[in-house]
């Protein structure tokens, strides 16, 4: 009696374990092929890039020479690198701030009840869905020396202006920031609109009865309640902007005189203009480190905010 019950207890304990093992095998089998593909298309290039940074390589005659950290030392003592890094910060902060503030304003506007809200909402998406090559073409046209912007400025100032905005060292970065923000504010607007609509109207009504006017409601309710969404928008945008390549390349190719040269463009030029693969990969790796740091902040802050502002 005692024996048989002990035996059955042991079997009971073993049974679910076996099952668990089966499940694990199933997971490995199911995920295996994907993991192999990911290893080839993502991990290998990254490792290859890392490795490249320790060599001086000549792509024409295919020779590799190990140089240790000297590519990195070259880079960290190179004023151009730090200038490109700084440009990246300016571009990131500028376009993120403009896109987020503008996106928030549009989101609040779209949350109001008015005629034509539906069509406007559809229209707001437009900059986001236009391919960047088209965006670049449109804005190059607007910002050119004899473009629409200058025509307009001349019209209201009654005096001819002919600054080629994208070609002027003083204004190029500002123009690139604005154009990039233009392509991205719809994402901010739509994301924030969803967050705004997630807040029950009755909370705002309660605040109105509690004596808070529109400005106070914005400061004490809208902003704190949108904080998690704002954080997500800002960080996703920042990560994207810091490693952005295509928009700047299409608009200015990093010029004039490096005024808009950022790290991805520098990497590209090192690799395919100067054929200094070692330098290029060192730039890429440092870029990756910065972006990874940003992503880490994103996940940490995001998780904490989600916890703190859980509205359910």
């Amino acid at each position: 009696m005692a024996f048989s019950s002990a035996k059955s207890a042991r079997r009971d304990r073993r049974a679910p374990r076996l099952k668990f093992r089966d499940e694990r095998i199933f997971y490995y089998v199911a995920l295996g092929p994907t993991a192999v593909v990911i290893a080839f298309v993502i991990a290998l290039p990254i490792i290859y890039t890392f490795g490249l940074g320790f060599f001086v390589q000549n792509t024409l005659i295919r020779t590799w020479r190990f140089v240790g950290l000297s590519n990195y030392i070259d880079l960290l003592t190179d004023a151009d690198f730090w200038f490109a890094f700084w440009n990246g910060i300016v571009f990131t902060v500028g376009s993120t701030a403009v896109a987020t503030v503008f996106g928030l304003a549009i989101a609040i506007l779209l949350d109001c009840n008015f005629r034509g809200r539906g069509p406007l909402r559809a229209l707001v998406i437009f900059p986001y869905i236009v391919p960047s090559i088209v965006v670049a073409f449109i804005w190059k046209f607007i910002f050119s020396g004899r473009g629409i912007l200058n025509d307009f400025l001349g019209f209201i100032g009654a005096q001819a202006v002919s600054v080629p905005w994208l070609g002027d060292q003083r204004f190029a970065m500002m123009a690139v920031v604005l154009i990039s923000a233009w392509t991205w504010f719809p994402f901010a607007a739509i994301t924030l609109l969803a967050a705004i609509q997630n807040v029950p109207d009755s909370i705002y009504e309660a605040a109105a009865l509690d004596g808070a006017g529109p400005a106070k409601r914005f400061i004490h309710l809208t902003l704190p309640l949108l904080a998690p969404a704002l954080m997500v928008v800002v960080l996703i945008r920042a990560i994207w902007a810091f490693r952005n390549y295509d928009m700047i390349w299409l608009l200015t190719e990093g010029g004039p005189i490096g005024a808009t040269e950022v790290l991805p463009i520098m990497a590209y030029k090192e690799a395919f203009g100067l054929f200094r693969m070692g330098h290029a990969s060192a730039v890429s790796v440092s870029l990756m480190v910065f972006v990874t740091l940003l992503a880490a902040v994103h996940f940490r802050v995001g998780a904490r905010l989600r916890k703190a502002y859980d509205t359910s």
């Binding site: 009755s202 909370i203 309660a206 605040a207 009865l209 509690d210 004596g211 703190a308």
Partner: protein, 371 residues
């Protein structure tokens, strides 16, 4: 003194008239329930008092002042929302302090008031919690705390108990009533639950499709409903309505149910019956507790105000306290409520006594009570 006055108030949403010609007064300090079926405009009316909906027609006066053009914050009313509408990113204490901060009260005064409210509502131990860490009943209390720290002229409640479970609802019902007795502030309470209205309110306003059907104390509505709608809405189980006509039969007034045999009306009862012309369709309204069984009712023998009806039992429900019998009468079914226990089963044929002195006559066409 009168606190809130509605002067032919109306409201349209687009083309639909949602409220029409609302006229009643709420005396200061009174506990008033607004009651009616879903969609009748209760919330809309409450929100018009609060200033959350525009007043399309007429005027609402609070404390003698027309508030049509006043912003919500200038009306000195506080509202407890159905979903509580607590500020999710603020603690319980901050939720209650918010309105005082907006009013630029001193910190000391704000804290005093907040603690006072917390004490009244038993929230002292929860002040540092966030709303998401509170139970439904606790959120409900915080919402009330947020209202009472302001010491407003009028409290508005929009179905505050509907999200609570049955037991908590009964408990909060008593708590709100005690709060009213303690503060003595005017309260307007929206509900679609007639039991809530009956048990809590001193005055009940019953709405249907945007119109006021009747205003009165709970017992006035119960005992003297102005029409069939009010009669059917108030009371559970609902009042029996037996369709039929009044006819003279050999010199005696009789109620003739549809497809039924005449029941003589005892003289001196049903004053409305004499106003109904012979043959005119009407309803005899009689509450389940005013129908009894001959042997059971102690004072049924001597009095001459009863009519008899024989019917077959269809269903018996026992609550433990009393027994509900559903029986098939000539015109549909009737419900009989018997205090205590009574042993019967479906299929039994019983003779019931209708207490005509507590019955009503309603005109079938207009639905109005006749008397």
């Amino acid at each position: 003194m009168v606190q809130v006055v509605f002067n032919s108030v109306g409201k349209d949403f687009g083309r639909d008239a949602v409220l029409r010609d609302i006229e009643f007064e709420v005396p200061a300090g009174r506990f008033v329930a607004l009651i009616g079926p879903s969609g009748c405009g209760k919330s809309t009316l409450l929100r018009m008092i609060a200033g959350l909906e525009h007043i399309d027609y007429g005027e609402i006066y609070i404390d003698g002042k027309a508030v049509n053009d006043l912003a919500p914050k200038d009306r000195d009313v506080a509202m407890v929302f159905q979903n509580y509408a607590l500020y999710p990113h603020m603690t319980v204490a901050e939720n209650m302090l918010f309105t005082l901060r907006m009013a630029r009260r001193t910190r000391a005064e704000s804290n005093d008031r907040m603690w006072e409210a917390a004490r009244i509502l038993g929230l002292e131990s929860l002040l540092d919690r966030y709303p998401r860490h509170l139970s439904g009943g606790q959120r409900q209390r915080v919402a009330m705390g947020r209202a009472i720290v302001r010491n407003p002229k009028v409290f508005l409640f929009d179905e505050p108990l509907s999200n609570l479970d049955a037991k908590l609802r009964v408990q909060m019902r008593a708590e709100i009533k005690r709060l009213h007795q303690r503060l003595g502030t005017t309260m307007i309470f929206v509900t679609h639950d007639q039991v809530e209205a009956m048990t809590m309110a001193e005055q009940v306003v019953i709405l249907r499709e945007g119109r006021v059907e009747q205003v009165g104390t709970p017992l006035e509505l119960y005992d003297r409903p102005t029409n069939i709608f009010v009669a059917g809405f108030i009371g559970s189980p609902t009042m029996n309505l037996i369709g039929g006509t009044f006819e003279q039969d050999r010199g005696r007034l009789c109620f003739v149910p549809r497809n039924g045999t005449p029941i003589p009306v005892p003289p001196g009862t049903l004053p409305g019956a004499s106003k109904v012309g012979p043959g005119r369709e009407c309803f005899l309204g009689i509450r389940p507790e005013h129908i009894s069984l001959p042997g059971l009712d102690p004072n049924s023998d001597g009095g001459g105000s009863f009519g008899e009806i024989s019917a077959e039992v269809v269903l018996v429900e026992v609550t433990g306290l009393d027994t509900h019998i559903v029986a098939s009468a000539p015109d549909g079914e009737i419900t009989i409520l018997i205090r205590g226990r009574f042993d019967t089963a479906a299929g039994d044929r019983l003779s019931f006594r209708l207490n005509f002195s507590a019955a009503h006559v309603f005109d079938a066409e207009t639905g109005e009570r006749l008397d």
